[in-house]
Symmetry: C2
Subunit: 616 residues, 2 copies
């Protein structure tokens, strides 16, 4: 097999060149070094100054010509090589990415841990220092370039010392060294910053309207760009989950973000400002406050007040990367503000890279809901220093697909992306493509069935978020309640309830408002529903919950069986390592099935209509 555990979806390429030069130079080297893939043809590169990420692949004199911008030719070169490897025609007309910034956010701490990381330790840090193998960083850079990712934030949005020093004199030389390593791959550096840094550095305040604070950030940015001339900018989690921010000084988030934006602007830098702001000290007795409404309430009134180099980063849904959420209402609002979609590859709530969970179906659903794409996109990384990069070997497919999604936007096809990933990773002649494809494509549905009924969120174990705990967050401060009782479950988010539906455009609001028109898979996100409520197919809500959980656990076993069937055609290491994950998934699915079914059975006393076992 053309793949060992150290490799990801480009095992057929020669080792990545050590001294790469710029992206265009790297493109030429990659094409020359892997000419054997070109079927006897050669390939040249032609630079179109100012064309950026765009490229086309032409035939000239019986050979290939990759023509495009500085980064475009690199993307084109990888596309050419991978298409040839897969036996596809590599010619393609001019192509440009759907999202301008295609970012990856690592939630890595400098002690080497990764917040919500399920693939080992940090790729960049250990023991409060930079610590990496440059050769692996180059392989990482190539993987990103091959799927068009053009920016990474290497440190956790929850910034704790010493990571707050990444942009100060103390650590900037080291930070710059990593930026240098990534530059040939067209990958620019973002850093998550501590909004309270001026205070840490000796000022009495971090008030964005204070002139000394403004001067502080101006100086800081001047300094950064001396070390990293193409530094992309700051990622900021402010006034969120105990992080400091402008609210402390009674300033709006526009005032807060603009402070940093104005300091970065002379250098061409950007502020990526996360909209994950809500009251994380909610009283569960308070039925009026509804956490999914928070981001819209905070930000929608600020439309037009942000500097043009501020990008508001909005999570796909209004809660927090749950298995099933509607698109955030912010994607329908703020026409005069630059936005980025944020998705989470790290499987915090979606199986933690133990359970199989191919994400593109979620993204396709999101696309179907949102009329106008934001300018930029970001994904929380699922990478770590595990040999296979992503803990679960098949979780690599999510990163690959993310790159395709970020490039193609509305033209993205999750099935095609999975097919590409399989061919590139396991060989263009992999004999079990259809089986593996089917596993990936049905995995999200399986996970959804055994975990979260119809958009009901947060029935997870607290803190670590793996496995079921139906009331784990029910009386907590996090604003995450389902309020199940002996009759019904769910939050009424209609006009008669919290009024969340009003945050959507009229037509969509009306659709969500009524139980008759609300998409059934989101019924329990929008409505409080009685267990005896009849669904469209004639089943009661309760029976649907039972059925889903029995079926989900059974289908998880089906995934395991399929994996076992793949043994003959997989490398031993990958087979065995992943087999263990599937076995754990089956255990997890049974636990979810039994806990959730028992939970609702204890409320209702109603047995399963098909007589299957529900434990007391």
């Amino acid at each position: 097999m053309p793949c060992d555990e150290k490799l990801c979806w480009l095992p057929f390429l020669q080792d990545v060149p050590g001294d790469a030069g710029g992206p265009a130079e790297l493109a030429q080297k990659e094409l020359a070094g892997n000419a054997a893939l070109l079927g006897g043809k050669s390939a040249a590169v032609s630079l179109l100054p100012g064309a950026g990420d765009g490229y086309e692949i032409l035939e000239r004199d019986g050979n290939y010509l990759v023509r495009g911008g500085e980064t475009g030719v690199l993307y084109g070169a990888y596309r050419l090589l991978t298409d040839c490897y897969r036996g596809e025609s590599p010619l393609r007309p001019w192509t440009m990415p759907a999202f301008s910034l295609r970012m990856l956010n690592h939630w890595d701490n400098m002690d080497g841990s990764v917040e919500r990381g399920y693939a080992g330790k940090s790729l960049f840090f250990a023991e409060d220092r930079f610590a990496y193998d440059p050769a692996r960083i180059r392989r990482y850079g190539r993987l990103l370039a091959s799927i068009g990712v053009n920016a990474v934030c290497i440190n956790n949005v929850n910034v704790h010392a010493p990571a707050d020093q990444l942009i100060t004199e103390r650590l900037l030389p080291k930070t710059a060294a990593l930026a240098d390593l990534l530059r040939p791959f067209g990958v620019r550096l973002l850093l998550a910053v501590d909004y309270a840094l001026p205070v840490t550095q000796g000022l009495p305040t971090a008030d964005p309207l204070d002139e000394k604070v403004q001067a502080f950030w101006n100086r800081q940015c001047d300094l950064i760009y001396q070390y990293i001339p193409d530094f992309l900018g700051f990622l900021v989690k402010a006034d969120s989950e105990f992080r400091p921010g402008p609210f402390l000084y009674h300033r709006s988030h526009a005032e807060g973000a603009n402070l940093l934006a104005r300091a970065l602007k002379p250098h061409g830098g950007k502020v990526i400002w996360r909209c994950f702001v809500y009251n994380c000290r909610q009283d569960w007795r308070d039925h009026a406050t509804d956490r999914p409404m928070a981001a819209y309430r905070h930000y929608a009134p600020l439309d037009g007040q942000f500097e043009d180099n501020v990008i508001l980063q909005v999570k796909n849904g209004p809660y927090d990367f749950q298995v099933r959420e509607p698109a955030s209402p912010l994607f329908y609002a703020m026409p005069n503000t630059v936005k980025a979609l944020e998705v989470q590859l790290a499987q915090e709530y979606t199986g933690q890279q133990i359970d199989l969970y191919y994400m593109p179906p979620m993204w396709e659903e999101w696309l179907s809901q949102v009329p106008d794409l934001p300018d930029h996109i970001c994904a929380v990384s699922n990478l770590g220093n595990d040999e296979n990069w992503t803990g679960h070997f098949l979780a690599q497919a999510n990163l690959y697909a993310y790159g395709r999604f970020a490039w193609l936007g509305r033209a993205f096809d999750g099935k095609a992306a999975a097919r590409e990933w399989i061919a590139l990773t396991l060989g263009s002649d992999f004999p079990e493509t259809e089986r593996l494809l089917s596993m990936l494509l049905r995995s999200r549905g399986v996970y959804e069935k055994y975990t979260s009924p119809l958009g009901l969120c947060w029935m997870v174990n607290i803190s670590h978020h793996y496995g079921p705990s139906p009331e784990g967050y029910e009386f907590s401060l996090w604003g995450t309640y389902h309020r199940a009782d002996y009759l019904a479950v769910g939050i009424d988010r209609t006009e008669k309830g919290t009024g969340y539906t009003r945050q959507y455009p009229k037509e969509l609001a009306e659709q969500y408002e009524s139980m008759d028109t609300c998409p059934e898979e989101m019924l329990l996100f929008f409505h409080r529903v009685r267990y005896d409520h009849m669904l469209r197919d004639g089943r009661t809500l309760l029976q649907r919950i039972y059925d889903d959980h029995f079926e989900g656990a059974e289908e998880a076993e089906g995934l395991l069986k399929d994996w076992v069937a793949l043994q003959p055609v997989l490398p031993d290491g990958i087979y065995a390592h992943t087999l263990d994950r599937f076995r754990r998934q089956v255990q997890n699915a049974r636990e979810w099935r039994d806990v959730i079914n028992t939970y609702f059975h204890r409320f209702t006393g109603t047995p399963d209509a098909k007589g299957r076992t529900i434990y007391d």
Copy 2:
């Protein structure tokens, strides 16, 4: 006021002498140094060789004479001084303690943290080293001697490196130095040991029947006694909550304990073997396994098989220091085995030294259930390096009362102990003794009302164990379930259920077996009860739960009001520090009230009969 925050119940004594000599010598020094308390009389000491802890206080020629054993005269000296201070006649006939070993177990880790500690950091350790102020250790030793505690284990029963080295050459010199500091106070050292130490030290096994392992422990004990000639022995948590033990080698706990006992015996040492052994990987679906039955099942069959220097340490109840448990069935069994009662002063499940919880009522209940006292007693310490020793100033009273309980056994009177503590701590003329006494005495009942209905355990937040989470442990691996549903709550532990009642002697078993005769406050410990079950006073179980929780929260406010009323007669520091605790207790009580009432209301839909607010 005669007291500052640094002091505990002996603020009126002169500073503890630095170079104390032995206990008898210390007794003489304390009497001489505090002669002013003796009302113009003098006090002499007369040693009765071999009389140990016993003493009597006589009048001779118009002066006092303390006559007793080496430690007895020290206990007598403190009793004489404190009685005089309180204005009581200090004369008393010969007295001996009810329990021979009166131990304190610190769960201190060498990094300075204290497992389940609520009074700051360790008194002994920091940063993986011994770290203490000798003067404070002497004050600590005096406090212990004044209440007759004669043994301490300074390290956590969960032994992790480097604490496993406390008994090896590496740390023994330091360990011995602490033993030297405590020796004048009649306090002997115990150490918690890692059963797998032979393996850590290079042997291939820790099998108790292996001769090399036996030789290892023999050598180890020879070494220890070179450094600490009066070393008391080992405290062992084996095969419990992931700690290693003899089960790993398919040996019984008698074989396991006897290994260590035989190595200690030539030196006069003892093995304190904890009986906290149960399956902590239980499947919640398994209704047959019942955790409270575990210790009896493990140990009762081993009666008579233990060496005579093995002491089985048994928690007061069969679960784990819950607010209300019956006495462990082991206290009625194993007549040929030496046992120690273990209670927990650290308020893990009882308010964490934020909520007021005076423990003696629990001990008095335990006494009323158990016909024969074990030989020894032990308490998990509630001490730390907080200025006031116990986090909550009033939690000092639990340690004081523990010493009295350990001395007096059946003659113990929790109310009298509280009265003594108040006088000794706040002054013999403290004008609000009755108010403070009432607060202490009713505190356990208040806490029980707002937390745990009728012996129902484990409705606490997982891991940290403060505050309510009704299903926090419901689907866990810890064997702690109440299985509430829309009709009933509790585990049936009768003959028809798990059969737990059969572990008690016949008469008691019969009493617990029937809902009609089972003490009502333990009804939900022994029985599964319908919410509409009529209690003896005509209320339903559900209404009783509601009433208790409303009353408990109200009574917590009453405690706060009483504390506020004490402001004029308390030192400012103590008043303010403790006021903050009472305010937090009131918050906690409201949270418990609302969460528990809502939890059962969601199952039943039944409103409170008195129309009080239960939240949806």
